[in-house]
């Protein structure tokens, strides 16, 4: 069966202005809106389009996280994933896996499911690590095409356009491969109410992290969360002339 695995990370919604806990131990998540990492929605959308074109048969949404991540997996199923797997960890900061560990977990599932493609986001917008896809590709000893803005499949080859600092780069990779998504790859579909009902009947498998036998001990430790340095609010100028004069006075123009 031609399968695509998609990473679905549960993160604080991108519209939320995060607040730090006063003791610097983390950010406030109580009562905060949680969503699928935006890049993972794009990853799922791409996988669904590939399946809808007939180039794949099954799309599996995978999340590693606390039991609450089932919500995001249900959303992924409502969007159109065929089944979902939650690798259940503890909750809170202790439960969160580092990219090395998350990739090791994903590799286990790759070995089990034998996908033609794994599509992950280019970064999770909470830790902003941008590592997991690249690490998985290395551990799996397969190609990586990161920051993808266009994916064309033909047979056992993917031609991927990547957003790089210079502009756009195109690579050709043999399948199976790992892709990570950039924002312009596609626009994810909206979930419709009947799909939410249907998603309730789709399979969602929960695997305790310990059952996978993967070494996931953390190699890094977050000592402290601090607020970023704040910029001082500046002055308003009334017109173009005043602005140019102000910049001139500061030696900026």
């Amino acid at each position: 069966m031609k399968r695509i695995l998609v990473g679905i990370k549960r993160v604080v919604d991108y519209n939320v202005r995060i607040r730090l806990k006063p003791d610097g131990s983390g950010i406030v998540t109580d009562g905060v809106k949680m969503s699928i990492n935006p890049f993972d929605e794009i990853a799922l959308e791409e996988a669904l389009r590939i399946r809808e074109r007939g180039a794949a048969e099954e799309v599996i949404a995978i999340s590693i996280g606390s039991g609450d991540a089932q919500q995001q997996l249900r959303t992924a199923l409502a969007m159109g994933a065929d089944r979902a797997i939650l690798v259940e960890t503890g909750s809170g900061t202790e439960g969160a896996l580092e990219p090395l560990a998350a990739a090791a977990v994903l590799l286990k599932l790759v070995e089990r499911e034998q996908p033609m493609l794994v599509i992950l986001g280019k970064q999770a917008i909470d830790d902003d690590n941008s590592q997991t896809g690249q690490i998985l590709a290395a551990l799996w000893d397969r190609p990586q095409a990161t920051f993808a803005s266009k994916v064309e499949l033909s047979g056992t080859v993917a031609r991927v356009t990547r957003e790089v600092d210079a502009g756009l780069e195109t690579l050709e990779v043999d399948l199976p491969a790992v892709l990570t998504t950039d924002l312009r790859l596609n626009e994810p579909r909206y979930v419709k109410l009947p799909d939410i009902m249907k998603a309730k009947k789709k399979p969602l498998e929960v695997l305790p992290l310990a059952s996978l036998g993967v070494a996931t001990a953390a190699k890094t430790r977050v000592v402290r969360f601090d607020p970023p340095p704040q910029r001082q609010k500046g002055v308003m100028v009334k017109d173009a002339a005043e602005l140019v004069a102000a910049l001139h006075a500061k030696g900026l123009v």
């Binding site: 991108y14 202005r17 995060i18 730090l20 950010i27 580092e98 990219p99 090395l100 990739a103 280019k122 917008i125 909470d126 902003d128 690590n129 941008s130 590592q131 997991t132 690249q134 690490i135 998985l136 290395a138 551990l139 000893d141 190609p143 990586q144 990161t146 920051f147 803005s149 990547r162 957003e163 790089v164 600092d165 210079a166 502009g167 756009l168 690579l171 050709e172 990779v173 043999d174 924002l183 312009r184 190699k219 890094t220 000592v223 402290r224 969360f225 601090d226 970023p228 910029r231 609010k233 500046g234 002055v235 308003m236 009334k238 017109d239 173009a240 602005l243 500061k250 900026l252 123009v253």
Partner: protein, 313 residues
Amino acid sequence: MSRILIVAEHDGTHLNPGTAKCVTCAAALAGASVTVVVLAQEPAAVAAQAAALAGVAQVLTVANPANEHPMAAFLAPQVAALAKEFSHVLGPATTFGKDLMPRIAALLGAPQISEIMAIESATRFRRPVYAGNAIVTVEVAAGVQVAGTVRTASFVAAGNGGNAPIAAVTPAVTLPSHTRFVSVSAASSDRPDLQTARRVVSGGRALGSAEGFKLMFALADKLGAAVGASRAAVDAGYAPNELQVGQTGKIIAPELYIAIGISGAIQHLTGIKDARTIVAINKDAEAPIFEVADFGLIGDLFEIVPQISKLLS
């Protein structure tokens, strides 16, 4: 003692300034010895530039036709084979480094610290999370090998004045055949580079069209500035993707940043937090961009920008 290996970014001819910023980052570790490795088809010219950087103790070169275009699947095993003796392996947090360094980290079994903004000690680092809305201090145990990408906006480039020895090496690895380079769009060369420009003029959705966006180029020409754009402007096709500034675009630290018709979403502000002076031009007095602007001007950009261009002539 820390031995730091920096993977040079280059285009075959020129060393990318991100590399010299990694050298500055590494030099913050007292007593560290800094090695730069240049992987290229023909590394000599780039290696000479790396050897001239103040603070570099040694340059290694790996000449291989497979290194003509930087592809992580090829570069990572070569770097990993050379990295065993090093305590830290760093690259710039550019798309080059973001693509490559985690693949190296995986081969080394080393944790990666992404977007390092400060090295406090050999085992303690600071980095932004949540689009820069929090800064975390991260620690690894003593003796753990670490990979990292360096947030280039946080460091000035190391200057010249070095004269490091250059040694050719040949890592014993077999390279894969599963990845092939097809093409890369040529970078436009006649304008200042967005990542290193001292001045940047940046346009948003309000420009309304690719035609409208030309106003940005005209103003940039007057200022000798690079041009940037918001995601909305890029998504709408007014500006090419390499101009995007922000959490998922480029993170820059120019002396002057002029945001025109940009609302100032969190994800955009992440990219300009280190700009020395921010100017905002927006018709909405409530736009969040004004909260971070040193100089704000409320009004219609289509009137104001031509006036500024004229005043600068």
